[in-house]
């Protein structure tokens, strides 16, 4: 064991009645603020839905002539503006969109997290102090999942949100990753059981100024249960797609990079390795099997949200740059997103 015992206070205070009362009072204040925040956001969303059909936009970016309120930024010195229909303390609202409401047992749930930064300045999410990470996690039934952050939270989940909408693809697991049970499968918890489940947006700790969305209902279909048959792939499948809940499309060929198997090395001058890729278009790409999860695509370096725990053979996939800037691949073996390198997790050694 360590330790830092020599750094301890020799006479630490105890939680006496006075301190206990202060703690309780503070917790009430925090809870009250959370309730107010959520209520205000819910009201604004309902109003927006109602008015949406008439073409009015009450909630959204500040428009010329729109009434706004100005609040002082608590973490910046810059004054900011926000729509008058939102609680000024809410800087970012979050929505979780799942690609498919039904997944097979053990299969990943994919989708997009939509962040709406209501401020006129950039917002870092999460703040590095009170919430170390965010992710979408799947819980059985209506129970919010207990998340093993070490294993299932992608490390590159910090965001620098520009004003407006930012869409971030996610992959949420319904079984523990191999990386978390390096010695034996017995270390791993069971699959999430078939049945009703929910996709939760969860943060690692308390987070302020962010309206946490309600969980999204999904169904995990069991092997022996009444699993809905996946939609048949259209014949012929003109384009790679996961829209039917399974991979449809042509088998991805190797990429055109200069690496031994066609992987991009960074020395290429043509797409998709080099700059110039068209957002929304699928490119044949050889995914390096290195466990650091780093790739080169479109002239940039990216890092996988789910790097393999150990080096694995290269894999041919279809890679696509989302119009909103996110990167991800689909293939008969699954789908994974990437983030710009910069918030990279610790490099693996195997």
């Amino acid at each position: 064991m360590s330790s830092f015992e020599h750094l301890d206070d020799p006479q630490p205070p105890s939680l006496d009645d006075d301190r206990w009362e202060r703690v309780r009072s503070r917790s009430h204040a925090i809870a009250r603020r959370r309730r107010v925040t959520l209520r205000m956001v819910t009201s604004a969303a309902v109003i927006a839905l109602v008015l949406g059909s008439t073409g009015l936009a009450l909630v959204g970016r500040n428009q010329p002539g729109e009434r706004v309120v100005t609040v002082g930024g608590s973490s910046t010195t810059e004054a900011v503006t926000t729509s008058s229909t939102l609680d000024p303390s809410v800087w970012v609202t979050v929505q979780v969109e799942v690609d498919d409401a039904v997944v097979n047992e053990g299969q990943n749930v994919t989708g997009t997290v939509v962040f709406d930064n209501h401020r006129s300045v950039r917002v870092a999410l999460p703040d590095s102090v009170h919430a170390a990470a965010w992710q979408v996690a799947i819980g059985s039934g209506a129970v919010e999942p207990v998340v093993g952050w070490l294993d299932s939270a992608p490390a590159a989940n910090r965001l620098d949100l520009a004003p407006g909408i930012t869409r971030v693809p996610f992959v949420a697991i319904t079984r523990q990753q191999v990386a978390s049970c390096p010695n034996t499968a017995l270390d791993c918890p069971a699959l999430l059981p078939a049945g009703a489940a929910r996709a939760w947006f969860v943060v690692d700790g308390a987070i302020e100024h962010v309206a946490i969305p309600a969980p999204v209902a999904i169904t995990i279909s069991g092997r022996g249960g009444p699993a809905p048959e996946p939609q048949p792939c259209p014949v012929p499948s003109p384009e790679p797609s996961m829209a039917s809940g399974q991979y449809c499309g042509p088998v991805p060929p190797a990429g055109n990079g200069l690496g031994p198997n066609g992987e991009c090395t960074g020395r290429e001058t043509t797409v998709p390795c080099a700059a110039g890729v068209v957002p929304g278009k699928y490119y044949a790409f050889t995914l390096p099997g290195r466990c650091d999860g780093v790739i080169v695509f479109g002239g940039r370096r990216w890092i996988s949200e789910l790097p393999p725990p150990t080096s694995v053979p290269d894999m041919d996939v279809w890679m696509r740059l989302d119009p909103s800037g996110g990167l991800g691949f689909i293939s008969p073996n699954g789908a994974v997103g990437f983030n710009p390198e910069g918030n990279a997790p610790g490099a693996c050694t195997r």
């Binding site: 301890d8 205070p13 102090v129 998340v147 070490l150 990386a179």
Partner: protein, 165 residues
């Protein structure tokens, strides 16, 4: 005002968590006032989120209190820059340098490693409990702890570091 969900926690358990948060805060900050502020805020937040926190309260409290302690240090740095002070304002005990180095080294660690190092070595939570409370295997904890310690040792000369596996 309605009752907060956190009121299901009793004062004895809250006291245990308070002590843990205070220990983490004091080891990093060296100030009784700052450590007490950190501990009170941490336990208050734990109460608010108790339905989530209760599954692994010690790990949650240790991690949040460590993050808050780092925030205190960062805030001091900003204040120091704005006032032109040349030195960190920290508690003046015999281990000021060590505390500053510890916080700086923790800030440099990747988040995963930092979480494990904080839980294992700053909060003194055992491997099995860290693994259980974080929902991962003991092997994973060992792996991150080992890497985290190696990284810390590379930039630290702190007495008392030892690793048991």
């Amino acid at each position: 005002m309605g009752r907060s969900e956190g009121e299901t926690i009793d004062q004895a358990l809250a006291g245990e968590l308070f002590a843990l948060a205070y220990r983490v805060g004091f080891r990093m900050l060296g100030s009784r006032a700052d450590a007490e502020d950190v501990a009170q805020e941490t336990v208050a937040r734990a109460l608010v989120r108790w339905t989530k926190v209760r599954e692994y309260p010690h790990a949650w409290v240790a991690r949040v209190s460590a993050n808050m302690a780092i925030d205190v240090i960062r805030r001091r740095r900003r204040e120091r820059r704005s006032t032109g002070e040349r030195h960190d304002r920290v508690a003046a005990d015999a281990f000021v340098g060590e505390r500053i180095e510890l916080v700086a080294a923790l800030e440099r660690l990747p988040r995963r490693q930092r979480d494990v190092v904080v839980l294992r070595y700053v909060a003194d939570i055992g491997e099995a409990e860290v693994a259980q409370q974080l929902g991962c295997s003991v092997g994973t904890v060992k792996q991150h702890a080992s890497r985290g310690l190696s990284s810390l040792r590379a930039g630290l000369d702190i007495r008392g570091w030892s690793e048991t596996t």
